[in-house]
Amino acid sequence: MSQATSALPREDAGRAVREHRPARSVNALGRGSALALGTSLIWFSLLVLIPLAAVVVQATTGGWSGFWHTLTNPQTLSALKLTVGESLLVTALNVVMGTTIAWVLVRDRFPGAAILDVVIDLPFALPTIVAGLVLLLLYGPRSPLGIDVANARPAVFLALAFVTLPFVVRTTQPVLEELDRDVEEAASSLGASSATTFRRVILPSLVPAIAAGAALSFARAISEYGSLVLLSGNRPFKTEVASVRIIGYIEGDNLAAASVIASVLLVVALVVIVVLDLIQRRVSRRG
């Protein structure tokens, strides 16, 4: 905080000294940086913007009726329902478990907690196909626990829970670490029970972080593909999710239909980004 406030006068002073120069020579685009910006934008367009635009354009080639026809195809509809439903469930699980894990990591340091830190990041770094494979080892036909969910609906939930595990933990943990413990002391010294202190003092300051984590984990869950390939069996009407449906259309050379589902997923992704941006700005405004 103090850094931000002290930076302002210094910057003003710098500008006053250099008044005879064109204002802010470092920050205005010079020839070199304009070239860098141009190159980056061309690259970014070729890699991201033009391809994503192509998906939307391709999705609309069949007109509104074509779009609607693809979406209301029973198999597609069932895949979309399954994807959204399971993603919501997994996100709810992550809100509870993610917050609990973050709490334990921050407030209850015990021997071995450092290992938990690595375990939580594993789903970020582990290739998704490997994630599916390892889950199949514990929860598949050869399960040492005797639990076999392979090719059944719980497999989708399991895979999504695995890949989305880190999001809520990693957004909530830093906020919990920075929390001012004096306020909690004050609350409990004024007679609040620990449950009340948690609900009235701690939880409100965690809500934006939890919401951000939940948005990220929903976005991830809705777009998951790799971890489901081996685990869920991709059975139509049973365990087939939206991404698998897109692959099915691509392999059947029906790129228009694939694009319709893809653009639905794309819209969800954009909504999540906007929501995150709003949460972030609300938090930074509150300081």
Binding site: N27, L47, V55, V119, A125, P127, I129, V134, F198, A262
Partner: protein
């Protein structure tokens, strides 16, 4: 702070450890035990298989190329976003996060629509020029670069914002060229953020599956990466090889995480 009772503390700790063991630690450890079921035979058989070697090499080439591209553009875009003012800056800043929440399958489809040589927007022109993107290495590099794009930027931008531009102003006012300032002041300042960004991007690139599957055509011995090979071998009942490659990929990702978590506290201190 809230005085949680020792009992509640113990319950929470048990729940968390149990959840993480059942969901992540145990399953991941099983891939190691299955790989070494018959000693080193699964690994040595995998390494004697030319298709496996080809897939591992291809994975390395694709991952390293995409990390290099993301490093260059990541640093450039981060600098532009933090240090410069231009119209559309907020839009660009929001758009660079898009790849994080787009399905890999959608990424593959998007690239396919633009770069496929028959009907793509740019594919036929590129094919006439002799450049094949889809079903070959450039397409796989593109797909991998797309999914890992935000990782370097997200690490570098906050650090650039935090260190501020005082030192850069000082260097410039003492007569340093903008290139000298970049090399001697700015880049050393974000060194650790760059290391994390690169390690995270590398982990993501080594493991990309969905996007690469769509653009590669998955041709055995030609455009098949390690992750695609795991899938194919598992489905074709060559489980030992699938476990062996998965084990190698898992080790690579654990190493990446450990590197990041060991380095990270140093920067905060």
């Amino acid at each position: 702070m809230v005085r949680t009772s020792p009992l509640l503390r113990l319950v929470l700790r048990t729940v968390v450890v149990g959840y993480l063991v059942l969901l992540v630690a145990w399953p991941v450890s099983l891939v190691a035990t299955h790989t070494f079921d018959d000693g080193f035979s699964a690994l040595s058989k995998a390494f004697a298989d030319p298709e496996v070697i080809h897939a591992l090499k291809l994975t390395a080439v694709v991952a390293l190329s995409s990390v290099a591209i993301n490093l260059v553009f990541g640093v450039t875009i981060s600098l532009l976003l933090v240090r410069y003012e231009f119209p559309g800056k907020r839009l660009l800043s929001a758009l660079v996060d898009v790849p994080l929440s787009v399905s890999p399958v959608v990424v593959g489809l998007a690239l396919l629509l633009v770069y496929n040589p028959r009907s793509g927007w740019l594919g036929p022109a590129l094919a006439d020029a002799g450049v094949q993107v889809i079903f070959s290495t450039p397409g796989m590099v593109l797909a991998t670069t797309f999914v890992a794009l935000p990782l370097v930027i997200r690490e570098v931008v906050p650090v650039l914002e935090e260190i501020g531009d005082d030192q850069e102003w000082a260097a410039r006012s003492l007569g340093a060229s903008s290139f000298q300032t970049l090399r001697r002041i700015t880049l050393p300042g974000v060194k650790w953020a760059l290391v994390y960004g690169v390690v995270l991007a590398l982990a993501r690139s080594l493991g990309e599956y969905g996007a690469v599957k769509v653009v590669s055509g998955n041709v055995v011995g030609s455009t098949q990466t390690a992750t695609l090979l795991v899938d194919q071998r598992y489905q074709n009942f060559d489980q030992p090889t699938a476990y062996a490659i998965s084990f190698l990929l898992a080790v690579a990702s654990v190493v990446c995480i450990v590197i990041v978590s060991v380095l990270r506290p140093k920067q905060e201190a």
